[in-house]
């Protein structure tokens, strides 16, 4: 008799203005299938885009980017946004292209409100009934795993869980993902565990495969790493184990509806797990990886195989590296392999301003291999205060930007204003710097400082707020005079972002980002994106 499969869901709430899927579920699927477990994945977020026909066509995106004024970029954006708003409005809700779905008056930071509002009817109910429940009934999975990677997905996750329960699904419902890991203790509530069977924190590969086999043979669940579950009425936390490098799996992109993603499409890939540095004081990303934020590098030749497999499956040869910071150990060997195999591709990824990027020969080689854009954490231009962020990177940002430009590699700049101990002057100097060097920069973000949970930042005091138990950031007060308040930081970012909107709107506009990393539209028009399979 055929064993029941695992069904992995990516709930609505993820941003639409990306060119490809989230990588969490393809990684899990690949690992589970290599372990002999039949696994299906369903990106409900992008499925909704198809269901309601809200996707912005590439034709409109390319047309808007020919002269990327705010007005031109807004046209296609608000055609879809207005349609989404109209769908949500009768439900007393908003549905935003980037921020997801929410009811008026509901805060994702409050478990009480998520509990309450997740019982409300949603404009997505008919989609869940027609698409999701239909698939669940056909597959009859032993485990449904739901990956929660943004706060907005908390609400839709519990709506989906309630529907699964209501329609009689009797297998295990397990939640995981970055948000669940970051919430961990505050997530352990009786009402949550009345709806679900467990959560998995940190990496889910070993936990899900172990759970699957334990359920098959009726074995106890106490030994399953990273699983938090209910045993005899008590919530039990099993031991934590981070995924060892030897167990890194290969992603499986089967079941993804590549054509559905907005903009010029890419396939997500992963060269390293986490951030090889991981010590920036403001950054909470390392926490969710565990192991001090870094699990290790993958084998570059295996990553190359992932790229080729993705192309063979989808016809897409653009790739986004999802690790927090590209590392030369991966890039060198991968580039050599791409060049030696004459594999035609383009790729982009996040990067630190580390000195290896100053090596012109290295840059030329990876550019030849296909690197088209890097997303750089500048935060602030060099000053006597920048050291407070503990970035420990190069102070030669301008030199690097010039070298990236010379090598034909575009740059995105992340800025961070209002970090305690930094203020107006550092922020204004940074904006002045980017505007003076605008020809070296393709896109930019301005982030206000947030006091992320699981980070420790000096000179500020946390304001405790029990009602916001699922907040991912603390509210805070300055502990010393020189620190900006949250309101001042917000105002600082608003005013400086206003300058950028007026001067170079394409830097901030999501429509431009769906287009800019990749080369000519002619080559993309020639890409034949293959249809994907149905589940059963």
């Amino acid at each position: 008799m055929k064993n029941p499969p695992v069904f992995l869901l990516f709930p609505p709430g993820w941003i639409y203005t990306t060119g490809g899927s989230n990588l969490a579920l393809p990684l899990l699927k690949g690992y589970l299938e290599a372990s002999g477990i039949e696994t299906y994945l369903f990106d409900l977020n992008i499925g909704l885009s198809d269901y309601f026909k809200i996707k912005i066509s590439n034709c409109k995106i390319e047309s808007a980017c020919e002269i990327p004024s705010l007005e031109n970029l807004n046209k296609p954006y608000y055609l879809s946004q207005d349609k989404m708003s109209a769908i949500a409005k009768p439900y007393g809700a908003t549905w935003d292209i980037q921020l997801g779905f929410n009811y008026d008056g509901c805060s994702f930071s409050s478990s009480d409100e998520i509990r309450k509002f997740s019982e409300f009817n949603s404009p997505f109910d008919s989609y869940y009934d027609e698409e999701l429940i239909n698939q669940v009934e056909k597959l009859n999975p032993s485990i449904i795993g739901i990956s929660v990677c943004s706060a907005a997905q908390l609400l839709t996750t519990f709506q989906i869980v309630r529907i699964l329960k209501r329609t009689g699904y009797s297998g295990k419902i397990i939640l995981g993902g970055n948000i669940i890991t970051r919430l961990e203790k505050s997530f352990l509530k009786d009402w949550v565990f009345e709806l679900i069977d467990g959560i998995v924190v940190f990496q889910g590969e070993i936990a899900l495969s172990s759970l699957y086999f334990a359920l098959q043979i009726g074995k106890e669940l106490d030994y399953i790493p990273n699983l938090i579950w209910k045993k005899k009425g008590e919530i039990k936390k099993n031991k934590i184990e981070y995924l060892p490098q030897k167990d890194f799996g290969r992603p499986s992109y089967v079941n993804l509806s590549f054509k559905s993603y907005w903009g010029i499409n890419y396939i997500p890939v992963l060269g390293s797990r986490g951030c090889y540095y991981g010590k920036c004081t403001f950054c909470s990303i390392p926490f969710a990886y565990g192991n001090n934020g870094f699990l290790g590098h993958d084998n570059p030749l295996s990553v190359y195989d992932d790229m080729v497999n993705g192309f063979d499956l989808s016809g897409i040869n653009n790739y986004k590296f999802m690790e927090e910071a590209l590392h030369p150990a991966i890039l060198r060997k991968l580039s050599d392999k791409i060049i030696s195999e004459n594999f035609d591709c383009e790729f982009e990824g996040y990067a630190r301003l580390d000195s290896f990027w100053q090596d012109e020969k290295f840059l030329q080689n990876i550019s030849k291999a296909g690197l088209r854009k890097v997303y750089l954490g500048l935060e602030l231009i060099t000053s006597d205060k920048r050291g407070l962020l503990n970035k420990s990177d190069s102070n030669k940002a301008l030199e690097m930007l010039k070298k990236f430009s010379d090598a034909g590699i575009k740059t995105h700049i992340f800025t961070l204003f209002g970090y305690p101990g930094t203020g107006i002057e550092e922020a204004v100097n940074t904006i002045e710097f980017v505007l003076q060097n605008k020809n070296l920069i393709d896109t930019l973000d301005i982030f206000p400082f947030y006091y992320a949970k699981h980070t420790k930042v000096p000179f500020i005091d946390i304001i405790n707020n029990k009602a916001e138990d699922w907040a991912l950031e603390h509210k805070y007060m300055p502990a010393i005079e020189e620190v900006l308040t949250m309101a001042q930081t917000s105002e600082l970012c608003y005013q400086l972002e206003d300058i950028i909107w007026n001067e170079i709107p394409k830097w901030l506009h999501p429509i431009y980002r769906l287009y800019s990393p990749w080369s000519t539209k002619e080559s993309n028009n020639n890409t034949v994106i293959k249809e994907q399979f149905t589940y059963v």
């Binding site: 705010l70 807004n74 935003d96 980037q98 002057e425 204004v428 900006l484």
Partner: protein
Amino acid sequence: MKSNQNHSQNTKETFTEDLRKIIKERFTFGQKSTPPNDTKRPKSGKGL
């Protein structure tokens, strides 16, 4: 670093006025006109 001092004691209005003054002093935009207030801007869904 004078502009960093004492901001936490300022009212929001004073801070905003100070900031506007600094921006006006530091940035000159000559040719470009500010768009009308009703020009929409997408909400920020940053980092991606």
